[in-house]
Amino acid sequence: MKYLVLVDESKGAHNAFNMALKIMNKEKDELHILNVINEGDAMENYFEVSKNKSQTLLENYSEKCHKNGVKHYNPTSLVGDVRNESINYCQKHAINMIIVGSRGMGMLSRALLGSVSEYIVGHSPVSVLVVKKSEDEPVAMSGNI
């Protein structure tokens, strides 16, 4: 199986990644890790900063893969709209399942599901796992917010 985890600096991405480690076969399966730099951030002066941030982020995740015994992992950094780039990546690399956190960065804390996650669930050509739970914090019960 080929898994794609979308990462950014959020805790959601962290949870998504940990879930990938849990369900994958570390010997046989492929773990693709994608960080998409927002086109806006990539403009002019901020490009170097964004690129470096992305690089560091992916290095951290690669380190985690290695430490956890993942044999086949592939970190990638792309510039563009995360929604389009992730869908394209899936098709290009014959991904079987996308794993996303339920909320990323900059989300209203009251939103139950981030707009990116929602988009991916609706538009992905492959199965999507939305990870809400993290190891340490319990998830709020449904309904009342």
Binding site: M1, M19, K22, I23, L112, L113, E118, V121, G122, H123, S124, P125, V126, S127, V128, L129, V130, V131, K132, K133, V139, A140, M141, S142, G143
Partner: protein, 124 residues
């Protein structure tokens, strides 16, 4: 890990079940749930779910079948079952028996993705 697959006799639900079986590891548990509504007889539901119980048995997957009576709204019923059985991952198809293709995701699946207090796998 405790998985719960929502079944309604649709092809989409079957896809969801098949996909879930690919992820199941040792020590995992599969809960098969179907929500009874008016027009659906308990016997038919039992027959439908029996096929899935059979598949689980053949694959050596520990399972439990749950038929929820009371003509509840499937959205609420599913969330209740997730909480009752302390489910880790809820597995749904993109849509059930409805043939309305306008929406990307059926109303039940969509509700589950947003409101379930656990991880949700939308199988396509």
């Amino acid at each position: 890990m405790r998985y719960m697959v929502c079944l309604d006799g649709s092809e989409q639900a079957k896809k969801a079940f098949d996909f879930a079986t690919r992820l199941i590891q040792k020590e995992d548990m599969m809960y098969l749930v179907t929500i009874l509504r008016t027009g659906i007889y308990k016997d038919d539901a039992q027959m439908m779910i029996m096929k899935y119980e059979q598949s689980c048995m053949e694959m050596g997957i520990p399972y439990e079948a749950i038929i929820v009576e009371g003509n509840l709204d499937p959205r609420d019923a599913i969330i209740n079952m997730v909480e009752k059985y302390m489910i880790d991952t809820l597995v749904v198809g993109t849509r059930g028996m409805s043939t309305i293709k306008k929406m990307f995701l059926g109303s039940v699946s969509s509700y589950c993705v947003t409101n379930a207090p656990c991880d949700v796998l939308v199988a396509k």
